[in-house]
C-alpha cells in the first residue's frame, strides 16, 4: 500500500503498538547474543572491571583464536577446532542419509500404499515422541555389537535412526498433497517406482528438502546427549567439547574464551538458517495452500 494513503489515527496507534511489542521481543531475544558477543571480544581485565553490557574499550580477537586453536579441553590443548570438524563429519552424512531415506519413505507411504501402511506410519510417528534417554542403553549395546562404539559413524547411525521418524513425517505429509494422478499418469507412461520418484517427485520437492535439512542439521548439530554418551575424547562433537571447555578446571574462568567458543559452536546452524530459512517458512506452509 502506498504511504500517501492516510490512515485513521486509531489504525496508526495500533501500528505503533504492534511495532513496539515486536521491537521489545527483538531486544529480548538478541540481548543474550549481544552480551555473548561483546564479552567474547573483551580482555579478561575488562570483564572483571566493567559491567556485563559495557562495550569493549579495546576489542581483541585473542579469545576467538584461543577458543579455536589452543584452549585446554580435557587433556588436550588444541581448542575446539578438531571437535568442530568432528561435528561437521557427523552432521553431513547423518543429515543426508536420514533425509534421503525419509524422502523415499514418505513417497512410499503416500503414493505406494500397502496393506497396513497407515498403521506402519502411525507407529513410525510414535518415534517422534520417544525421549532420547529411553534409547540410550539399548543403543549403546547395539553400537557395541556393530563395532561402532565411540566412533563418528556410530553417532551418524544413531542420528539417522532417530531422525527417520521426523524426516518420514515431513515428506509423507508433503507428498500426500501431491495429486495421485501425477503418479498414475507416469505409471501409464511406463515409468516404474524409482523413475517416478526421480523424475516426477524429486523435482517438486525442493521446499520440503530445505525444511528437512534445516531441521535435521539443527537437531544433530545441537545434540549433546548422544554425543556425550556414545563418543569419547577425540571423536566427541563440538557440543560436548564446549561443555568440557567451560568445565575444565583452570585457575581462572575465561569467560571471553567460553563465549567465543559458544558462538563458534552456534555459527553453522545460524548459517543454515540464513541461507535456507526462507524455504523453511515456505515449505512449512506449502501443503496448506496448494498452488
Amino acid at each position: 500500500m502506498p504511504e500517501a494513503i492516510h490512515k485513521p489515527p486509531s489504525e496508526r496507534a495500533q501500528r505503533v503498538f504492534i511495532y513496539s511489542v515486536l521491537l521489545l521481543f527483538v531486544v529480548y531475544f538478541l540481548a543474550p547474543f549481544f552480551v555473548m558477543f561483546i564479552t567474547s571480544i573483551k580482555t579478561m581485565d575488562e570483564i572483571r572491571n566493567g559491567t556485563l553490557i559495557a562495550l569493549p574499550r579495546q576489542p581483541t580477537l585473542e579469545p576467538w583464536l584461543k577458543a579455536w586453536g589452543y584452549a585446554t579441553i580435557g587433556v588436550t590443548n588444541e581448542g575446539i577446532r578438531g571437535f568442530f570438524w568432528n561435528s561437521i563429519r557427523m552432521v553431513i552424512p547423518a543429515v543426508l542419509i536420514s533425509t534421503i531415506i525419509g524422502a523415499v519413505n514418505g513417497y512410499v507411504l503416500s503414493k505406494w500404499r500397502f496393506r497396513g501402511s497407515d498403521t506402519f506410519f502411525a507407529m513410525l510417528l510414535l518415534g517422534c515422541f520417544i525421549p532420547f534417554q529411553v534409547i540410550l542403553l539399548p543403543m549403546a549395546r547395539t553400537l557395541g555389537l556393530l563395532g561402532l562404539s565411540e566412533s563418528v559413524w556410530g553417532l551418524v547411525l544413531v542420528h539417522v535412526v532417530y531422525g527417520l521418524a521426523f524426516t518420514t513425517l515431513f515428506f509423507r505429509n508433503y507428498y500426500v498433497a501431491v495429486p495421485s494422478e501425477l503418479v498414475n499418469a507416469a505409471r501409464i507412461d511406463g515409468a516404474g517406482f524409482f523413475r517416478i520418484f526421480w523424475r516426477i517427485m524429486l523435482p517438486i520437492s525442493t521446499p520440503i528438502f530445505m525444511v528437512t535439512i534445516i531441521w535435521q542439521t539443527t537437531q544433530i548439530w545441537n545434540d549433546f546427549l548422544f554425543g556425550v554418551c556414545f563418543s569419547t575424547g577425540e571423536t566427541q562433537p563440538i557440543t560436548v567439547a564446549l561443555n568440557n571447555l567451560v568445565n575444565t578446571s583452570s585457575a581462572v574462568k575465561e569467560y571471553n574464551v567460553d563465549m567465543a567458543a559458544a558462538i563458534i559452536a552456534a555459527l553453522p546452524t545460524l548459517f543454515v538458517y540464513f541461507v535456507a530459512g526462507k524455504y523453511f517458512v515456505r515449505g512449512l506452509t506449502a501443503g496448506a495452500v496448494k498452488g
Partner: protein
C-alpha cells in the same frame, strides 16, 4: 488394437460400492462412449481398465488375456485424465516425450511425433512452457497430446474436451473422429456432452450408480431408450415423461389424452421427444396453458404442464404466444414411448 472385455466387474472403496457388476464387450477398433451422471463410476471404470485400481471382483480382459494382475505399464494403454495430471516440473515438450523416453523410443522419432501431435492439437507455440503457464483448455490439449503421442492398444479418454471453448471443441471432436478412422485404435471415451457422445460413438454405454443401464448405438439409445433414466438422460431437452393411466388403448392424465395406443390397461409413464410433437389446431392430445416460452433461434420451445410433469414441445420458429395462453399439442401415437410406471423399464410395444 485390441478388444476389451469387462466381466462382472465390481469395485468397492471400503464400504462404498462404486461399480456393481459391469459387463461390457468392446470390439477391437470400436469407439465406445461412456455417459452417466457425475459420480456414477465412469472414471473408476477407466482406472480399472488402465490398471490403476484393482477390481474387487470380476475380470478385465485385453485381447484374450485376463489383465487383473498386470501393471499399467504392461497393459499398453494411453489415458487422458480428467484432471489432466500434467507433470508440473516439465515443460510441454517434456510432458509429451516422457512416456516415449521411458519406452526407449529413438530421439528422432520422438521429435517427429511431438511435431505431429503438437500441430494437430495446435500447441506448437506452447512447447517450451510449463503447465502452470497454460490455460485450462491448453492444459487439456497437452494432456490429450501426451496420450496421442503414443501408439497404444487402447485409448482411455476421461472428458478430454470438457474445458475447451465451443469452437475448439468442435475442431477437436472432428480431429478425434478422423484420428480414429485413420488408426482404428480401440477407444473408451467418457463425456458429459451429448453431441460428443452421439457423433463419436460406435456404441454408447449409459451408466447410473455403478450399473449399466443400456448399451447401444447412438440411434438405438436415442430412439429406443431402455428405461426412463436413459430417456431422461439422453437428448437435449430430455424426453418428456408424463404419468397417467391407460384405459382401452387411451392414455389419460392431467391435461392429456392420447388415443390409439396398444397397451394393457393400468398406470404407465408415457414419453415423447420435444421435436416429435407439434402445436396443432385440430386433434389436440395435450391442452394446457403455456408455462414458459423460449426463443431458440431455429425454433421456439414451449413448456406446459401435463401428466403431472413439465412437458416441452418444439414449435416453429415464428410461433408466438403469451405465457398463460391455451395451446393445443398433437402427439402422434408413433412417437410415444411407454414405460412401466414403477420400475421405469420400457414396455414392449
Amino acid at each position: 488394437m485390441a478388444s476389451l472385455k469387462i466381466q462382472n466387474v465390481c469395485k468397492s472403496f471400503g464400504a462404498v460400492d462404486v461399480l456393481k457388476g459391469i459387463d461390457l464387450e468392446i470390439e477391437s477398433g470400436e469407439f465406445l462412449v461412456l455417459v452417466g451422471p457425475s459420480g456414477c463410476g465412469k472414471s473408476t471404470l477407466l482406472n480399472l481398465i488402465a490398471g490403476l485400481e484393482t477390481v474387487t471382483s470380476g475380470d478385465v480382459l485385453i485381447g484374450d488375456r485376463v489383465v487383473n494382475a498386470v501393471s499399467p505399464k504392461d497393459r499398453d494403454i494411453a489415458m487422458v485424465f480428467q484432471s489432466y495430471a500434467l507433470y508440473p516440473n516439465m515443460n510441454v515438450r517434456k510432458n509429451l516425450s516422457f512416456g516415449l523416453e521411458t519406452r526407449k523410443v529413438a530421439k528422432p522419432e520422438i521429435d517427429a511425433t511431438i511435431e505431429r501431435v503438437a500441430q494437430m492439437l495446435q500447441i506448437t507455440d506452447l512447447l517450451d512452457r510449463k503447465p502452470a503457464q497454460l490455460s485450462g483448455g491448453q492444459r487439456q490439449r497437452v494432456a490429450m497430446g501426451r496420450a496421442l503421442a503414443r501408439n497404444p492398444k487402447i485409448f482411455l479418454f476421461d472428458e478430454p474436451l470438457s474445458n475447451l471453448d465451443a469452437k475448439l471443441r468442435v475442431e477437436m471432436r472432428t480431429e478425434i473422429k478422423r484420428l480414429h478412422q485413420r488408426i482404428h485404435t480401440t477407444i473408451v471415451y467418457v463425456t458429459h456432452d451429448q453431441i460428443e457422445a452421439m457423433t463419436l460413438a460406435d456404441r454408447v454405454v449409459v451408466m447410473k450408480q455403478g450399473i449399466v443401464q443400456q448399451v447401444g448405438t447412438p440411434t438405438e439409445i436415442y430412439d429406443t431408450p431402455a428405461n426412463t433414466f436413459v430417456a431422461s438422460f439422453i437428448g437435449s431437452p430430455a424426453m418428456n415423461l408424463m404419468q397417467g393411466e391407460i384405459e382401452g388403448g387411451t392414455f389419460r392424465g392431467t391435461n392429456v389424452e392420447i388415443a390409439g395406443l396398444s397397451a394393457a390397461d393400468g398406470p404407465v409413464t408415457l414419453g415423447f421427444r420435444a421435436e416429435d410433437a407439434a402445436v396443432a389446431d385440430t386433434s389436440a392430445d395435450i391442452k394446457a396453458p403455456i408455462y414458459t416460452i423460449e426463443l431458440l433461434g431455429d425454433a421456439t420451445m414451449l413448456t406446459v404442464r401435463a401428466g403431472g410433469e413439465m412437458v416441452s414441445v418444439k414449435a416453429a420458429k415464428d410461433f408466438r404466444a403469451e405465457i398463460g395462453d391455451a395451446v393445443s399439442i398433437s402427439v402422434p401415437v408413433g412417437v410415444c414411448h411407454l414405460f412401466d410406471h414403477e420400475s421405469g423399464e420400457r414396455l414392449a410395444s
